[in-house]
Subunit: 235 residues, 2 copies
Amino acid sequence: MSKLVYSVSISLDGIVAGPDQSVANPLGVGGLLLHEWMRELAVWRKGAAQEGGLTNASTAVLERNKGKVGAIIMGRNMFGGGPGPWGDDPWNGWWGENPPWHLPVFVLTHYSRTRLDCEGGTSFEFVTDGIEAALKLARAAANAKDVLVSGGGTVAKQCLAAGLLDEIELHLVPVILGAGVRLFDDKAPAAARMEQVDVVEAPGVTHIRYRVRRLAAAAALLSYCRATNSMPTAS
Amino acid sequence: MSKLVYSVSISLDGIVAGPDQSVANPLGVGGLLLHEWMRELAVWRKGAAQEGGLTNASTAVLERNKGKVGAIIMGRNMFGGGPGPWGDDPWNGWWGENPPWHLPVFVLTHYSRTRLDCEGGTSFEFVTDGIEAALKLARAAANAKDVLVSGGGTVAKQCLAAGLLDEIELHLVPVILGAGVRLFDDKAPAAARMEQVDVVEAPGVTHIRYRVRRLAAAAALLSYCRATNSMPTAS
C-alpha cells in the first residue's frame, strides 16, 4: 500500500527550518546546521554533482527509500520561489537543469504556473488547490509507490494536522536552534501517538522512523486525565 | 570529574511534563505517557516495591548510572510539594518512608524546611537560595561522583540556561502531548550544540545521551548567518 512519508532533519528543540527563510537563505538562519550530516555524505554529494565525501551509517538511511518513492510533494519555498506570484520570467528553482529527484514533483503554491519538465525525469507540477489535491495527483503519479513530503515544515504540518501522514522519518540533530519552524507546534494533533519502527545511530545524528497512529487508549487516557485532573492509579 | 547530568523522558514535541501539574497530578495531564517505558520494567518496579515487569534494552539504560551518581537535585514538585509554604505539618513527599534514591537529595524550593532523613539512606535537604547553591551542596555531598538533575523541567531549564549541565539523557517517547513544560523553549541557549554520545533503541523509546558543549564554530556560523541574512557558500 502506498504510504505518505515525511522525512526531515530536526533540531533538539523541534525546529525543521531556521527563522527568516528567504530566497537568499532558503533553510533559514542556522538551518544549514540541520543538514551537515547529509551534506558530508558521498552519496549526497554525488547527487549534487560534488566529489568526495564520507560513507557511514547515514548512507544506508539516505538510500533505503530509493526505488520505493514514486512522487514527491514540496512547498514553493523548497522548489525555489520567494513570496508573491511567479512573474513573467519565473526562475526554475534551486535544483538546476537536472534536479536530483528524477521523479514527478508536486509543488504546493498559491500561484498557478505551467508544468516544468527537466532533464533526468524530474517534472514540477504546480498545485494551487491545497494539500489533498496535491496528494491525489501525487498518488496517481506514484503508481502505487510511496509519496514523499519534502521540505521545511509548512506542507508537512498541514499533512500532520489533517491526519494524512503514514510515516515520519526524523533525523535528530544535536543542536538547539532557538527559533524557526517548529514541526510539532500547538496545531499538531495532541495525544497522537506514533509507533517507533527503527532507530539508526550515526555520526552526529540519530535517525528514527515512526509509524503514525492514534491509539484510542492514549486519547482515552488523556480524556480521563483532563476530566478528572488526576491520573489513573497504577495497577 | 564529577558531571552534572539531566536524565528525562521527553515527547516528540519536546514536552517533559504535561500541563496543569498539581499535587493530585504531579506529572501533569498526559505526563504518565512519558514514563510507561520505565514503569513496565522489572528493575523500576522493584525499586517501587512492585512485583513483576519486563527486562529489555531499557533495563541497562536505567542501571548504567548506578554507582556513578552521588547526589540528586530536584524541584519541589518532584519531591511532593504543592504551591505555597510547607505548613505546620508538612507532607514528606511522594516517595514513602524508604524513598528509592538512597542518596542525598537537594530540593530547590522557595520555602525553607528542616532536613528530612529517611530510611535507606535518602535525605532531603531544602535549598532556598538558588540552583548554584544547590549544585554546590550536591557536589560536596556527591563526593566526586556525578550529580543528577531529576524531574519535570523547571530545575533542568535553569541549569541549561545557566550553562551548568554537562550531559543530557533524553528518553524520547513517540507521543505528541501538545502542551506542558517544554524543555528546550525560547530561553534555551540558541546555537548550543550537543555531542551525541550514544543511542539505545528500546521498545517504545529511544535513549540518546548528549554531551553539552557550545562549539565556537556553530556560534560563529549563526552570527555570520544573522549578520548577512545568508548562508556561507558550501566549500
